[in-house]
Amino acid sequence: MASSFAVSARRPLTTGEKLLEINWGFLLLITLIASAGFAMLYSIAGSSFSPWAGPQMLRFGIGLALLIVVAMVDIRVWMGLAYPAYGVALLLLVAVESIGHVGLGAQRWIALGPLQIQPSEMMKITLVLALARYLHGIGVEEVSKPSKLLIPLAMIAAPAALVLHQPNLGTAIILVLDGCALLFLAGLSWWWITPTIGGAAAAVPVIWQFLHDYQKQRVMTFLNPQDDALGAGWNITQAKIAIGSGGFTGKGFLEGTQSRLNFLPEKQTDFIVTAFAEEFGFLGCMVLLALFATVIFYGIRIAMTSHSQFGRLVAMGVTLNFFFYIMINGLMVMGLIPVVGIPMPLVSYGGSAMLTVMFGFGLLMSVHVHRRTEVPQRASGII
């Protein structure tokens, strides 16, 4: 093991070798998770591939291809692209303010011919890349220096503020969580972390003032869903009925009454898990959670085996991003936190989020494939 490793570290891998290096078990794992999504989209459409299951399978196929292509690209190339890509995403976020489409009352899209680009989704990837590159370039003792800390904080704050203004609270939270997690992993001093958490808790009343009415309403509804059982509280109440009525073994595939009879709101997107919980019950949910946990376990293992700080941070950034999706969506549909628009990764219907997640897994796989590649301190010269 040690000898082959020493050899491969010195010379670039061929494409064939790279394909062999890809963790195909991991791909099988995410295909299983996505299949749970296909099954539910098929079920809630009344046993039909249209309008959701069919397109979703096609997107997942495209996503898999994208994942493999991204995995083939040398991580040093990704490191070189990190700042320019971040810059483009930031510019697009600014652009969406002026020319973006208003979807569901929020400005989130830019139309580029037939393509609809959601810069906030792009930002989730590029922020991880850019922060990883920056933190790769400085030592662990430098991270906590105010002069060095200012730049990554600005890199997080700028897109988060723009996304919040769209308004898209869910994505803004994910961006901040992603960024802070990377700073934490890179070794940010506890002297920074502890007071920040304390300060954030104190700032909650101030943030409340800046929330949109609909966001405030969601929080209020979350706190008292019975007050408005047929209005805004409907989502939470019906979602809980769907999950709870699934019981231990579930009502059976294609037998969910809540989801199939339209009692569930946004059932094909953010609330798809409730349909799954209804039809497959507690057992099914535990299996799904286990699959998610396995994906995260793989992500951590890939991060730990990477030879470069950039690789480690990218791998953990992608993995944590995936985890934050699961956490927020899961807590939301089970009525533990207010409703914020965050889909369940791989399972919920939607093109943008699917591509973002698959691109992220592509980067994860690239880190895995190129785990022995030595990455220089400075990216200059790679691109």
Binding site: G139, V140, G244, S245, F263, Q309, G330
Partner: protein, 630 residues
């Protein structure tokens, strides 16, 4: 193990430590998720399962068909007509719903108001709710829609049911009508049917009085629905119990004849079987089309009905209380015979007036009638004879006799809205006005003026009692479903045969002897002759001035100020069977329209032989109808 330079080694150590912490945090969150799932799906399963079932299954009422109302021979007076209509389901339409409505309007005419209503319904309802595009189509129009159906996506031909009154206005006052349920209707009635969309409830007449029986009982269908209320499938169904049929004692042919005779006059007429009390016709004119209220009456039409000075919405036969005028003299006559006053040979000289105290009481005939016996007094309707007779009788005996003929109290007929009228007396006046009775008032009462108020139904009941000699009571409902109301066995009348014979003789003379007040309009067909008594009810007070100048003829007064014309009659003279009372408001003119009407009606009834024709009442009957009569 990865290769490290010295700098990266410390970074890796930190990273590993921090990753471990992250992994711990993630495990914690996953535990929260799993714990929450355990709570919802295992611990609270029963509660959520119940809620999910409630979401899924909806119980819906099935509206029963309303019972029919038929006449004594089984002719339908109110039924549930098939309503051929066209529905549109917006979500099934290809293109715009408006275009579909227009496509239908090219095949069958759609009124602008209906079109407006349709478009409003489309915008206000969910897209799977069927909307009425046009209804009450003829079979031909309906067939045309069906023929073009392949080219009309989203259009559904449908056969609904709607209340229909085939005879329109002629039966409106007896039957009443049905209309949408109002807030007042729900106050005392908790029947869930009242909340059904489009449900109709009886608002007047028989439709109101027997609404609960005619309405039927709802069925229940259990359906699986989605969150939008769309029915996915029917799980089970309990059929509705149809409403019960009501059999009336009316004869539709006679009723239509009455309606035709009354014409456009503001008038009322009741025809009874004098022996059984069965009401054969009961009409108030003008009527109104009860079908209008079912569909929803327009403001203009409603205003036209409420502002009409002929009061088409009032059932004058029951709710109209009029001074009976000279028709009341029969009561005085019968009482006078039994009191031993009008004994054979008793006469009164009529000089044209009678003086009591310092008042002069005039006869309608200024020159007077001369010497009058009872028969002549009735025949000529001599006021002075009855002034004198009443003076001797006194108000107490008059009051008692009037009650014996059925006045002063509601007859208890099954049609709602009946008034009881008024028969004055000493106690009555003291109670009402707080002052004692004056003898002059007895005289005014004798000619059916003053405080006396009677309804045409009471007048007809009186006539039937005179004709049959029994205390008959009117009934108009024979049976409701299986509940049968036998004719009330008529008790004996509190008058001697001699008294009744005397009154009958006077009424016979009135119509059939030359000089009688109704002679000019008698029935000439042999065997069908009628006996009757005319009457005039004063609408205004005639001033002393006018008396001095001579009585102004009614023809020369404005319609509203003319006196009411009354006539009560029975036929045939021998073995009477039919009793009839007619009032024509402001109709006291020389042509005596009320007598002509009664003549035509009684002749028609006899020739048709209504009372002896075999009826079409249901064969089986059990129990009795609970009415206010007890």
């Amino acid at each position: 193990m990865p290769l490290f330079d010295r700098k990266d080694k410390s970074r890796y150590a930190t990273f590993s430590r921090r990753t471990l912490i992250s992994a711990g945090a993630m495990t914690g969150i996953f535990s929260v998720l799993a714990g929450r799932l355990y709570q919802l799906q295992i611990l609270d399963f029963d509660e959520f399962m119940t809620q999910a079932e409630d979401n899924r299954i909806s119980e819906r009422l099935v509206t029963p068909p309303r019972g029919r109302i038929v006449d004594r021979f089984g002719v339908e007076l109110a039924n549930d007509r098939r309503n051929y209509r066209v529905l549109l389901v917006p979500e099934q339409v290809q293109g715009s719903a408006i275009a579909s409505v227009d496509a239908v309007s090219r095949l069958v005419p759609i009124s602008p108001t209906q079109r407006e209503k349709t478009l409003r319904d489309i915008s206000e309802n969910r897209s799977f709710t069927p909307i009425v595009v046009v209804e009450n189509l003829s079979w031909d129009d309906f067939a045309r829609i069906n023929l073009h159906l392949p080219y009309l996506p989203g259009i559904q031909p449908d056969v609904g049911e709607t209340r229909a009154y085939p005879f329109g206005a002629s039966f409106a006052h007896v039957l009443g009508y049905v209309a949408s349920v109002g807030p007042d209707d729900k106050k005392d009635d908790k029947d869930p049917l009242l909340d059904q969309p489009g449900f109709r409830i009886g608002k007047r007449g028989i439709e109101k009085a027997f609404d609960k029986q005619i309405r039927g009982r709802p069925g229940v269908t259990r359906v699986e629905v989605n969150a939008h209320g769309r029915i996915i499938r029917e799980l089970s169904r309990d059929a509705a119990t149809p409403g019960e049929d009501v059999h009336l004692t009316l004869d539709s042919a006679l009723q239509n004849k009455v309606s035709e005779c009354l014409g456009s006059e503001s008038a009322a007429c009741v025809v009874m079987d004098a022996v059984t009390g069965d009401v054969l016709a009961l009409e108030s004119s003008p009527g109104f089309d009860p079908n209008l209220f079912n569909i929803g009456i327009s403001t203009t039409k409603w205003r036209a009905l409420t502002t009409n000075d002929h009061s088409p919405l009032m059932n004058k036969a029951l709710a109209g209380a009029y001074p009976p005028g000279s028709t009341f003299k029969s009561v005085i006559a019968a009482a006078a015979v039994d009191a031993g006053i009008a004994v054979p040979g008793f006469t009164v000289f009529c000089s044209g007036s009678l003086t009591l105290g310092n008042h002069n009481f005039h006869c309608w005939k200024r020159g007077g009638h001369g010497t009058m016996d009872l028969r002549g007094a009735i025949k000529n309707s001599c006021d002075v004879y009855f002034y004198e007779t009443a003076r001797r009788l006194g108000i107490d005996r008059i009051e008692k006799a009037a009650h014996a003929f059925g006045f002063g109290a509601a007859t208890g007929i099954e049609v709602p809205g009946e008034r009881s009228g008024a028969i004055p007396g000493r106690a009555w006046k003291l109670r009402r006005f707080g002052v004692p009775w004056q003898q002059g008032e007895t005289l005014v009462t004798a000619i059916g003026q003053g405080y006396v108020l009677t309804t045409p139904l009471q007048l007809c009941t009186m006539t039937a009692r005179i004709a049959s000699g029994k205390a008959v009571l009117p009934r108009i409902v024979h049976s409701v479903g299986a509940e049968h109301q036998p004719p009330v066995p008529a008790g004996p009348l509190e008058f001697s045969a001699a008294a009744l014979d005397a009154v009958r003789g006077g009424m016979d003379a009135t119509a059939n002897e030359p000089g009688g007040t109704a002679y000019a309009w008698r029935i000439t067909e042999p065997g069908f002759e009628m006996a009757g008594k005319t009457g005039t009810a004063q609408v205004r007070v005639i001033t002393r001035d006018e008396r001095a100048r001579g009585v102004v003829k009614n023809e020369h007064l404005p319609w509203k100020l003319r006196d009411h014309a009354l006539f009560v009659a029975y036929a045939p003279v021998l073995n009477p069977r039919y009793a009839c009372a007619v009032i024509v408001e402001h109709g006291a003119v020389a042509a005596h329209p009320q007598v002509q009407m009664a003549r035509d009606i009684l002749l028609f009834a006899q020739q048709r032989d209504v009372a002896n024709r075999p009826t079409a009442y249901p064969a089986t009957s059990a129990g009795a109808i609970v009415t206010k009569r007890g």
